[in-house]
Point group: C2
Chain length 297, copies 2
């Protein structure tokens, strides 16, 4: 199998896990369930559950304990997109080539669907308790999930991002890297750390994967900024140059496309170097990280 | 001590618990932390953490394990109010006599502060794991918290409420009771059930307290609807008749004030009867529930 076939196989498995853990529609509040499922089923790369699964395998994990966490993390990622797209936030009408949740279901339902996805993420993660009661790893994994998604993680990054956009002057590089670390890397870190924790990895390994998560997350975000100026609508699923339209400061506007590309490569190489030093290897994970620097969408 | 003195003492203790668990302000995302704290510190009756604490005591609990859950539940209650007040939802400018979060911090920050409170609630509840690792009760308590706050609990009720408001005809009584059960009673049930679970109560006791929570929650909501037509701005902290202004169907519009008052009394009596049949008693809890039928704000 080549990389693409391995990738497709994993995406299929993740879609099956998501289908298993997403709520059944129907009932008096059925519209919000539809809006939740619409949002998650909009597709995307499923990068976060995939990284979680690969870190789990890398650290010798087996069994289904990781599955509710894979679904939970994708729900948290999705709710953040649903709320980010709202008129009071980025006011985006399209994402991944489809109409955003608030365009289809209205603003009220999009707010509720986002809330519902965030809440259901924890409800879903809690199912792991029934699978293995009194498991210290599961307890720790939920703690990491909450921390990396919250005010000292993703939400903190979203806030700093919005404050920077509303500020008089442009953000500087330290501010920008804070935003990338929190807004994007935090959930990538959560993915890798939770995979390792649930596999029973030592704290030292979890810390190394947190570093890998930083590198991959920041590289991923800079690549996103590069694609915003060089990509194509059909590939990206959203209008080109939307950052520029919003007068957004990015790594590209601060350092230029060439420097940005170099930094993505540097971060990706650093991440892979850490992984190559592990006693066991996961070649697919290494390849996946390398692919991030050449992705076109 | 009379009831009022007991009540004040408990509120003071709850305020101390909240202060202990709310985030410290400052840092690049400090505004969202301020907005979170502003929202929680707007006051209110602290009914949910109080009911949790009293159920904990009733079931023989002692120690601090219940504290992170008391704070977490109040955070969830608060986030629901912050999002409910948004322009795209009820568009309320005042609550408890103070300007609502989006009026003070803007709509974007109010959405994020609500998200942050919901997420931080789970982050806070997870602190109980460090207090007592591998504790089956804590694991179960987090599961109940997530379930009662989510799409099969509070968010489900909010959704049904909004759908009923936007519908052509008025809601009927079964729809209205569904909304009250989910939107209001679910978090009251969570309060009582989690208090009992953390104290190590049997499932049978937890089930009885879930029933008490239904009675108290629905009674509380009907009383709210009664106060909307009979209360005074100064006491209620929000404009009188706002339900009528919004053409909202309530127990009062469906059955009249007198029938509504009778139903509040019936539900309260039923709740107290269940508690009176317990081997141990918590007189403050019983009195607190009785007070709900005579409260003026």
């Amino acid at each position: 199998m080549n990389f693409k076939e391995h990738l497709d196989k994993r995406v299929s498995r993740i879609e099956a896990v998501l289908a298993k853990y997403l709520p059944q529609e129907g009932g008096p509040a059925g519209v919000v369930l539809e809006a939740m499922n619409y949002s998650v089923n909009a597709g995307g790369k499923r990068l976060r559950p995939m990284l979680m699964q690969e870190a789990f395998v890398l650290c010798g994990g087996s069994g289904e304990l990781v599955e509710p966490f894979m679904a939970a993390l994708e729900m948290i990622h999705t709710y953040s997109l649903v709320h980010d797209d709202l008129p009071a936030m980025d006011n985006d009408e399209y994402r991944r080539g489809r109409k955003t949740t608030h365009v289809v279901y209205g603003e009220t339902m999009a707010i509720l669907a986002g809330d519902a996805l965030l809440n259901y993420a924890f409800e879903t993660a809690c199912r792991a308790f029934a699978m293995k009661p009194g498991c210290a790893q599961t307890e720790r994994a939920i703690g990491v999930l909450a921390e990396k998604a919250g005010i000292f993680g993703m939400i903190g990054g979203q806030t700093a991002d919005i404050l920077a956009e509303n500020a008089e002057g442009a953000a500087d590089m330290p501010q920008l890297l804070f935003i990338h670390e929190k807004k994007t890397a935090a959930l990538i870190q959560a993915a890798l750390m939770i995979g390792a924790i649930l596999a029973g990895a030592e704290q030292e390994v979890v810390d190394l994967l947190e570093k890998v998560g930083y590198d991959v997350g920041v590289a991923f975000q800079i690549q996103d900024d590069i694609l915003d100026v060089t990509g194509e609508m059909a590939e990206l699923g959203k209008p080109i140059g939307s950052d520029e339209k919003n007068h957004k400061t990015t790594y590209v506007t601060l350092a230029g496309v060439d420097e940005a590309k170099k930094e993505v490569e540097r971060l990706s190489n650093e991440a892979v170097s850490i992984l190559e030093a592990f006693e066991t290897r996961n070649e697919f994970l290494e390849e996946l990280i390398r692919e991030l620097i050449t992705r076109r969408k």
